[in-house]
C-alpha cells in the first residue's frame, strides 16, 4: 500500500478555488464572533469578495487537468464549468441579499452558505467514492440548517422532511457504494472502471448502480425522490431557497457525469435507460403538479422538479455533447430560477404575500422587476429569443441525434404544458389589477437586489441571443 | 489468545481444545478481576470514610471492628437483606437492567490495565481507546436508571450526569492525544514502557485537563451534580434500594479506582519505580492509592459547581486547553 504523499508534488493550484472559499468561510465565521453588531453587515460583502476571488482563481486554472491526493480530487473542464456556474449563481444570491434580513446572524448565514458551496465544489471534483460521500454531506448539512433557520412551523417542517429524506437517500447511496467496493475493492472511479472492465456483469453491480442513482437523484430532486423540493422551496427563508434552487444541484450533476460513464461504463445502457425514465417522470409530474399551485415558491419548486427532468435528458443521451448541453441548460435554468426567487424576495421584503394573487398589478408597482420576471418565465418555458429556448434546443437536438426521439417529443410536449402555469404568473402581473381599494404605489427595492435581478435578466437575454459566448467557453 | 505456550502444551497433552482453555482462562480472570474490584471497593470506602472524617475533624466509623474496619461488611449485609422495592410506575426491565449496565463497563475497564511489566490480562493495541470508550456505555446505564425509576429527581440527576459525562469525555480523550503522540502507541503497556520520565512532567497541561475531566467523569465532588444530596435526594439512583443500590455504589467506587489506576498508568509511570522489576505491582498500588487520596482530598476540599459552570468549564476551558496541548506537543516534537 502506498503510504506516502509527496507534499511538494501536490499541485496546489488545482485547489485554489476551494481554498479561497474555505478561507473566507472561516473569516466570515470569525467575523460573526468578533465584529460589533453594527459592522456585521460587512460580512455579506466579504462573502461576495470571496466568491469572486474564487471565481477568478478558477478562471486561472480553467483548462487545467489534474488529479491530486492519490486520486481523490480531480479537476477537469466539466468540473470547472459547473463550479463556475455555482459560484456565479451564489454570488448573485449574496449580492441580492446584501441589504436583506437573513433571519439569523449574518456571519452564520454566509459561512454556512460558503460551507455548502465548498462541499458542492468538492463534489464536482471528487474522483473517489469516499470523497464524493463526504463532499455530499458537506453540501447538504448546511442546507438542512439554513432551511431550519427561520424557526417557523413551516420552516421546521420543511427542514425535517429535507433532513430525513436526505439521510435515507445518503444511506442508500452509501449502501450502493459499499456494494461497488465489495465488487472491486477500490474506491477510486477510474480504478473501479479498471477492475470491472472485461469481466461479466454481476447482478450486484446493477443493484449498486440503482442505489447510487437513488442517492444522487435525491440531490438533484428527480421524481420519485423529489418530495422534499417543493416543501423546502416554500418553507425555507427566501434567500436560502434561492441558493438551493440553483447552486447545490451542480454538485449532483457533476458527480453523476464523473461517476457513471467511468465506474459504471460497463452497464452504460442500463443507467442511461434509468435516467431516461427518471427524466420523463420528473418532467410529467413536475409540470402537471405545478399547474395547480397557487403559492409562487411552491410553483417554482415543482418547476424545478420538471427542469431536473429536462436536464436528465442530457444524462439519458450519455454522450459528451449530451453532458455539455446539460451543463448549458443548467446554467440557463439556474439563472432564470434564481431570478424568479429574487423577485419573490423583493416582493416579500415589502410585506407582500407569495401567492399568485399577490402578483396582481405587479407591473405597475415595479415595471422593471415585472419585466424581468416575465423574461424569466419565458426563459423557463423555452420561448425564443431567451436563453431557455437555446438550452432546450441543444438538449433535444442531442436526444434526437442519439435516437431518443420519443424523449425529445415528451420534452417538447412538457414545455407546452409548462406554458400553462408560467403564463399565469405573467397574466397576474400584467393583466390583473389588485383588489379594490388597494393603492398601487411604486415599490421600493434595495439597490443590490435590483442590481442582481438586472444582471440575471441581462444574462438570460444575452445567452439566448448569443449562446456561443458561453458555448465557446465550455467547448461545445 | 490468552494462552501462553506452556498452557497450550499442557492442553494438547490432555486433549483439551484451545477454545475451552481460552474460556476457562477468561472465567478465571473474570473472577479474579471481580475479587480485585471488590477488595478495592472495600478499601476505598473505608478510606473515604476515614479521610473525610479526618478532613472534617471527626473520627468516622469506630464501633464495628478495629477502628470501624468491619463497618462496610455490616453495611453490605444490611443492603443484601433489604427488601427489593420497585417504584409503582417504574419501567421494570429498564429499572432492573440499569445497575448491571452501569456496573459491568466500570469493571471491564480493568481488562487492559498493565499492573506490572507484562502483567496484563489482554494487552490490546487500542487499549487506551478501549479504556476511554468502555465507561461511555455506563452513561447509558445511568440514563436508564433515571428513566426507569419514574422519579423527577432521578431523571434530572441522570440527565445532568449524562450531559456531564458526554461533555467531559471530549477533553478527556483529547488530553490523552499528547501522550499517544509521545509514546507513539495506544497500547497501555507501551505507554508505560515509554515513560522513562513520567508524563506528568512532560505533559502537565494534559494532566490537569485529564484529572479535572476524570473527576467529572466519575461524578466526584466538585462535579457531583448528578447526586447532589441537597437538591436531588440521591440523583439517578434515588429509587434504588438493597442489592441494586449496592450495584450503583459498587460501580461508583470501581470507577474511582479505575480512574486512579488509569492516571497512574498514563501520568505517573505505571509500574516504574526503584528496585527490581517484580516490585512493579507494589509501586503501581502505592501510586494508585496516592491518586485516590488526591481525588478524595479534592472531594472534601472544594464546594460543588453549578451546572452551567460545569458546562462552561468543560467546553470553554478544558477543551481549548486540551487542543492547545496537542498543538504544543506536536510543535515540540517537530522541533526536537
Amino acid at each position: 500500500m502506498n503510504l506516502t504523499i509527496n507534499w511538494s508534488q501536490v499541485n496546489w493550484l488545482a485547489l485554489t478555488p476551494e481554498m479561497i472559499i474555505l478561507g473566507f468561510s472561516i473569516i466570515v465565521l470569525l467575523g460573526e464572533l468578533f465584529l460589533s453588531k453594527t459592522s456585521k453587515h460587512m460580512l455579506g460583502a466579504v462573502t461576495l469578495v470571496g466568491l469572486v476571488a474564487s471565481l477568478v482563481s478558477l478562471g486561472y486554472i480553467w483548462n487545467l487537468q489534474a488529479t491530486e491526493f492519490n486520486g481523490m480530487f480531480s479537476v477537469d473542464l466539466t468540473a470547472n464549468v459547473l463550479k463556475a456556474i455555482l459560484l456565479v449563481t451564489t454570488a448573485l444570491v449574496v449580492l441580492g441579499v446584501l441589504k436583506v434580513n437573513v433571519l439569523m446572524g449574518e456571519g452564520e448565514f454566509f459561512s454556512l452558505l460558503l460551507f455548502s458551496v465548498l462541499g458542492t465544489m468538492f463534489m464536482a471534483s471528487s474522483a473517489d467514492l469516499i470523497m464524493l460521500f463526504i463532499a455530499l454531506e458537506l453540501t447538504v448539512l448546511p442546507s438542512y440548517i439554513l432551511t431550519a433557520s427561520k424557526k417557523t412551523r413551516q420552516s421546521t417542517e420543511a427542514a425535517l422532511k429535507y433532513f430525513l429524506l436526505g439521510m435515507i437517500s445518503s444511506v442508500i447511496l452509501l449502501y450502493g457504494m459499499t456494494l461497488l467496493f465489495g465488487l472491486t475493492g477500490e474506491t477510486n472511479f477510474a480504478a473501479i472502471a479498471g477492475k470491472l472492465a472485461g469481466h461479466p456483469i454481476q447482478p450486484a453491480l446493477v443493484a449498486s448502480m440503482l442505489m447510487i442513482v437513488v442517492g444522487l437523484g435525491f440531490k438533484i430532486a428527480a421524481v420519485p425522490f423529489h418530495f422534499w423540493a417543493p416543501d423546502v422551496y416554500e418553507g425555507s427563508p427566501i434567500p436560502v431557497a434561492s441558493y438551493l434552487a440553483a447552486g447545490p444541484k451542480a454538485g449532483g450533476f457533476a458527480a453523476i457525469i464523473h461517476l457513471f460513464p467511468l465506474a459504471f461504463g460497463v452497464v452504460a445502457p442500463a443507467w442511461a435507460g434509468v435516467f431516461a425514465i427518471l427524466a420523463v417522470a420528473s418532467m410529467v409530474v413536475g409540470n402537471l403538479v405545478a399547474l395547480s399551485q397557487t403559492h409562487v415558491r411552491r410553483l417554482l419548486g415543482y418547476s424545478a422538479v420538471a427542469h431536473t427532468g429536462y436536464l436528465l435528458v442530457g444524462l439519458a443521451v450519455a454522450t459528451k455533447l449530451g453532458y455539455a448541453s446539460l451543463i448549458f441548460y443548467f446554467l440557463v435554468y439556474s439563472l432564470a430560477a434564481l431570478g424568479a426567487f429574487l423577485v419573490v424576495l423583493a416582493l416579500a421584503e415589502r410585506g407582500f404575500g407569495e401567492n399568485l394573487k399577490d402578483f396582481a398589478g405587479f407591473s405597475r408597482r415595479a415595471p422593471m422587476l415585472a419585466l424581468a420576471m416575465a423574461i424569466f418565465m419565458f426563459s423557463l418555458v423555452g420561448v425564443p429569443p431567451f436563453a431557455g429556448f437555446m438550452g432546450k434546443l441543444y438538449l433535444f437536438r442531442e436526444a434526437v441525434r442519439s435516437d431518443l426521439i420519443w424523449l425529445a417529443i415528451v420534452g417538447v410536449l412538457n414545455s407546452v404544458i409548462s406554458f400553462g402555469y408560467y403564463v399565469t404568473v405573467i397574466r397576474q402581473m400584467y393583466l390583473v389589477s389588485p383588489s379594490e381599494g388597494e393603492a398601487v404605489a411604486r415599490m421600493q427595492v434595495s439597490k443590490p437586489l435590483f442590481a442582481s435581478i438586472m444582471i440575471i435578466m441581462a444574462a438570460v437575454i444575452v445567452l439566448g441571443v448569443y449562446p456561443n459566448a458561453f458555448l465557446s467557453i465550455i467547448k461545445l | 489468545m490468552l494462552s501462553s505456550t506452556k498452557l497450550l502444551e499442557f492442553a494438547s497433552n490432555y486433549g483439551i481444545p484451545v477454545w475451552a482453555l481460552d474460556g476457562a482462562i477468561a472465567i478465571v480472570f473474570a473472577v479474579v478481576l471481580f475479587a480485585i474490584c471488590a477488595i478495592s471497593v472495600i478499601i476505598n470506602v473505608y478510606l473515604l470514610r476515614k479521610i473525610s472524617a479526618d478532613f472534617q475533624l471527626r473520627y468516622g466509623p469506630m464501633h464495628v471492628g478495629w477502628h470501624g474496619s468491619l463497618q462496610l461488611f455490616a453495611d453490605a449485609i444490611k443492603l443484601l437483606t433489604k427488601e427489593d422495592i420497585f417504584p409503582s410506575n417504574a419501567d421494570r426491565w429498564i429499572f432492573r437492567l440499569a445497575p448491571v449496565v452501569t456496573f459491568v463497563p466500570a469493571y471491564l475497564g480493568f481488562l487492559v490495565l498493565p499492573i506490572g511489566h507484562g502483567i496484563v490480562i489482554q494487552d490490546l493495541n487500542v487499549g487506551l481507546l478501549y479504556i476511554l470508550a468502555i465507561p461511555a456505555i455506563g452513561v447509558a446505564g445511568i440514563i436508564m436508571a433515571g428513566f426507569g425509576s419514574y422519579n423527577k429527581y432521578a431523571i434530572i440527576g441522570s440527565l445532568r450526569s449524562a450531559a456531564q459525562m458526554v461533555s467531559y469525555e471530549v477533553p478527556r480523550a483529547l488530553s490523552i492525544i499528547g501522550i499517544v503522540m509521545i509514546a507513539g502507541s495506544a497500547k497501555l503497556s507501551s505507554i508505560v514502557g515509554a515513560q522513562h520520565v513520567w508524563y506528568i512532567i512532560l505533559q502537565p497541561i494534559a494532566f490537569v485537563v485529564f484529572l479535572v475531566s476524570t473527576l467529572a467523569e466519575i461524578n466526584s465532588t466538585p462535579f457531583d451534580l448528578p447526586e447532589t444530596e441537597s437538591e436531588l435526594v440521591n440523583g439517578y439512583y434515588t429509587e434504588y434500594s438493597g442489592m441494586r443500590f449496592m450495584f450503583f455504589f459498587f460501580a461508583e467506587y470501581v470507577a474511582l479506582f479505575a480512574a486512579a489506576t488509569l492516571t497512574t498508568v498514563l501520568f505517573l509511570g505505571g509500574w516504574h519505580g526503584p528496585g527490581p522489576e517484580y516490585l512493579g505491582p507494589i509501586w503501581f498500588t502505592i501510586k494508585t492509592f496516592a491518586m485516590i487520596w488526591v481525588i478524595m482530598w479534592i472531594k472534601w476540599t472544594l464546594p460543588r459547581f453549578r451546572i452551567d459552570q460545569v458546562m462552561d468549564l468543560g467546553w470553554k476551558v478544558l477543551l481549548p486547553l486540551a487542543l492547545i496541548n496537542v498543538l504544543i506537543t506536536g510543535l515540540v516534537m517537530m522541533i526536537i
Binding site: E68, M131, I134, A204 | W93, L129
Partner: protein
Amino acid sequence: MIEQVIFFALAAVAIISAIAVVLSRNLFHAVMILGGFLLTIAGFYFLLNADFVGIMQVFVYVGGVIVVMLFGIMLTPHEANITNAAKLQQKLGTYIAVAALIGLLAMIFIRTTFITSPAEPVKDTVSLAGKLFMTNYVLPFEVISVLLLAALVGAIIVARKEEH
C-alpha cells in the same frame, strides 16, 4: 470454525435486535435495543481484526449517539406507549414490500461473487489508520473537519432560542 460460530451468533443477535428496534412501541426501549445492536456491529469489526474501528464504534455510537438520542427522548414530551395507528392493509403492505426487498437483495447477493482481500490482518491498526489519514486520505479527512465545524455551527443555530 470458532470465528464462524461467533459471526453467526453476532449476526443472529444483530438481526433480532434490529427487528426489535423497528417493532418496539416504546421509543426508549427502541433506542436501548439500538444501542445493543450497535454493540454487535462493533463485535463484527473486532471479528474482522479492525479493533480501532470497533472501539470507535463503541465510543461514538454507544457513548455518544445513543446518549444524545436518549437525551432527546427525555427532554421532549412524549407518550409512554405510542399506539400505532397503521391499518392492517398498511402493515401488510409494509411487510410484503420489506420481504420482497430482502428477497431481491438476497437473490442478487447469492449470484454475485464479491472479492475478498488477500491482505494479512494488520497488527497495529491504530498507527496504520493514522498514517492513512495523513497520506492517502488526507483530503477527505480535512473535509470531514470542515463538515464537523459546519455541524457544530448548525447545532448551535438550531438549538438556541429565538432572539426576535
